[in-house]
C-alpha cells in the first residue's frame, strides 16, 4: 500500500511534518534516560548529584539545549495541528510554522543562557 506520495515531500508543510515527527521520536528516546536519572533519588541524594555532575559537561549542556528546542518545537507544532484539526478551517496555518520556529529558538536560547549563569 502506498501511504505517501513523493510529490508532496518537496514542500515546507512536509518538512514541518518531518520535524514534528522526528522531534517526537527523539523526545521519546530521551524520556527513559530522564526517568532513569531522576529514579537515582531512590539511592539517595548523592547518587542523583553524581549523575547531575556528569550533565555539567558542555556536550550535555548543548544536548539539554537541543532537548528544550525539540520540546518547544514539538509542542508548538502540535498546537498548530490541533488548530487545523479542531478549529474552523483557515488553511495550513503557515504563520504558526514561522512563529513556532522563532518562539522555540528563543525559548531554548533563554534556557541555554540560564544554564550558563
Amino acid at each position: 500500500m502506498k501511504i505517501n506520495d513523493a510529490r508532496s515531500r518537496h514542500h515546507a508543510i512536509w518538512w514541518t511534518f518531518v520535524v514534528h515527527r522526528v522531534s517526537g521520536l527523539l523526545l521519546t528516546v530521551f524520556l527513559p534516560i530522564h526517568f532513569w536519572t531522576l529514579g537515582l533519588a531512590l539511592q539517595g541524594e548523592s547518587a542523583l548529584d553524581r549523575a547531575l555532575a556528569w550533565y555539567e559537561a558542555p556536550v550535555f549542556r548543548w544536548g539539554e539545549w537541543l532537548l528544550v528546542l525539540l520540546l518547544t518545537v514539538h509542542a508548538l507544532g502540535g498546537i498548530r495541528l490541533l488548530l487545523i484539526e479542531f478549529r474552523p478551517w483557515r488553511g495550513l496555518r503557515r504563520g504558526w510554522i514561522v512563529a513556532g520556529g522563532i518562539i522555540a529558538l528563543a525559548t531554548s536560547l533563554l534556557f541555554l543562557n540560564a544554564s550558563w549563569k
Binding site: 501511504i3 505517501n4 515527527r21 517526537g24 521520536l25 523526545l27 521519546t28 524520556l31 527513559p32 530522564h34 526517568f35 532513569w36 536519572t37 531522576l38 529514579g39 537515582l40 533519588a41 531512590l42 539511592q43 539517595g44 541524594e45 548523592s46 542523583l48 548529584d49 547531575l52 550533565y55 555539567e56 539539554e64 528544550v68 520540546l71 518547544t72 509542542a75 502540535g78 498546537i79 495541528l81 490541533l82 484539526e85 479542531f86 525559548t107 533563554l110 534556557f111 540560564a114 544554564s115 549563569k117
Partner: protein
C-alpha cells in the same frame, strides 16, 4: 466499521486529547526548567521542591501518564508508516513502550517525592 479501524480512530483521538492537556503541562515544565537551571542543577535543589509535595507528585504523575499514551501512539504510527511494520506488531511494540514509560516515569516521580526521605 471494522474493529481495527475503530481502534485506529480511538488511538488518533487519545493522541489528540493527551496533546491538548499536555500543552499546559509542557508550558509549566518549560518555565520551571528555565527557572531551576539557573546556577546549575543540584539534587538538593530538586528534592527540596519535590520531596513530600503532593502537588508536584500529582502534576508529574499525570504528566507521565499523558506522555506515555501520547508518545507510544506516535511511535506506533512511525513503525507502521516509516518502518513498514504490520499493524499488529506496531501496536504490540507501542503498548510495551507505553508500559515501560509508565513504569519508569512513575518510578521517577516516586523517587523524587518519597526517595531518600530522612
Amino acid at each position: 466499521m471494522k474493529p481495527q479501524v475503530v481502534q485506529q480512530v480511538r488511538r488518533w483521538y487519545w493522541q489528540r486529547i493527551t496533546a491538548m492537556i499536555m500543552t499546559l503541562f509542557v508550558l509549566v515544565h518549560l518555565v520551571l526548567m528555565i527557572h531551576a537551571i539557573k546556577g546549575g542543577l543540584s539534587a538538593g535543589e530538586i528534592l527540596a521542591r519535590t520531596q513530600g509535595s503532593v502537588l508536584w507528585a500529582l502534576f508529574y504523575g499525570l504528566f507521565v501518564v499523558l506522555v506515555s499514551v501520547h508518545a507510544s501512539i506516535g511511535l506506533g504510527n512511525i513503525l507502521v508508516e516509516w518502518a513498514r511494520l504490520p499493524q499488529g506488531s506496531a501496536r504490540l511494540i507501542s503498548n510495551l513502550v507505553a508500559l515501560a514509560l509508565l513504569v519508569l516515569g512513575l518510578r521517577a516521580v516516586w523517587a523524587v517525592t518519597c526517595g531518600s526521605m530522612p
